[in-house]
Symmetry: C2
DNA sequence: AGTACATTTAACCATATGGTTAAATGATAG
DNA sequence: CTATCATTTAACCATATGGTTAAATGTACT
């Protein structure tokens, strides 16, 4: 269905591994923005943000539409789908671990209850 | 529900951004393995694999159980859940883009058909 | 034409990453 | 006790990453 080379996953996960870039994507989820606007909330220089945008662009997570001198950035979430699919393969593992956690917590609660009962 | 600091996501996505580490996780999905076994399929030295394992361990994606001189590595997929949740926020965007792709492909097909019809 | 704005490029720096080989650690086997 | 096996640590190297400031580019305004 979705073609997925390792390189693509490298770039996608790599792009998502930085908090600044994730915040940029979050901004873009609320609508297209230009570079300056995207940079505003971050305490770093414009060129730094510009670099982050290039990383996102190379990962295909963002595209850009030049409109005069302002660049309008647009979220392109499609590559995330592949990442999500990759992760999805492991769902049963974390669900299993939560089942074990549940089990553990239930046992703990049971013991507490028994202790409480024995005091009466 | 699931506590999720940015640091955690950094480490999780960062760990997943390397193909060797993803292959290691895939191995571990089939069962626990020791370091030497995990290293075998990779064309790199044991210390290199050892480093990757430490990255995975710091990200909480793997835990280790020393049994004599062999270390038994075990998959711990729980941190992936947070990553999956983060990505999930963007599902509507990639679904929207696939809708647009569908639309586009349908139009294309329609045009082809018209061309074909006019030739008759 | 000249100024101001949006953005990138260039040059640089510190630290992180991914790999190597050689040596150290720690456990097992003979 | 010694040799061997599993693994890590140390020291090193090349390249990547994430940031900076200063200069360049390209567009808009008057």
């Amino acid at each position: 269905m979705v073609k997925c080379t390792p390189r693509t996953l490298d770039r996608t996960f790599g792009a998502l591994a930085d908090p600044t870039r994730r915040r940029i994507l979050e901004s873009l989820a609320h609508g297209d923005r230009c570079v300056t606007d995207l940079a505003k909330p971050h305490r770093m220089s414009l060129p730094a943000v510009s670099k982050h945008l290039r990383v996102l662009e190379k990962a295909g997570l963002v595209c850009r539409q030049r409109d005069g001198r302002v660049h309008r950035l647009k979220l392109q979430a499609a590559p995330m789908q592949q990442a999500a699919q990759w992760i999805e393969e492991y769902r049963r593992f974390w669900e299993a671990s939560f089942d074990r956690l549940d089990e553990y917590l239930n046992k703990l609660q049971q013991k507490e209850k028994e202790k409480h009962d024995s005091k009466k």
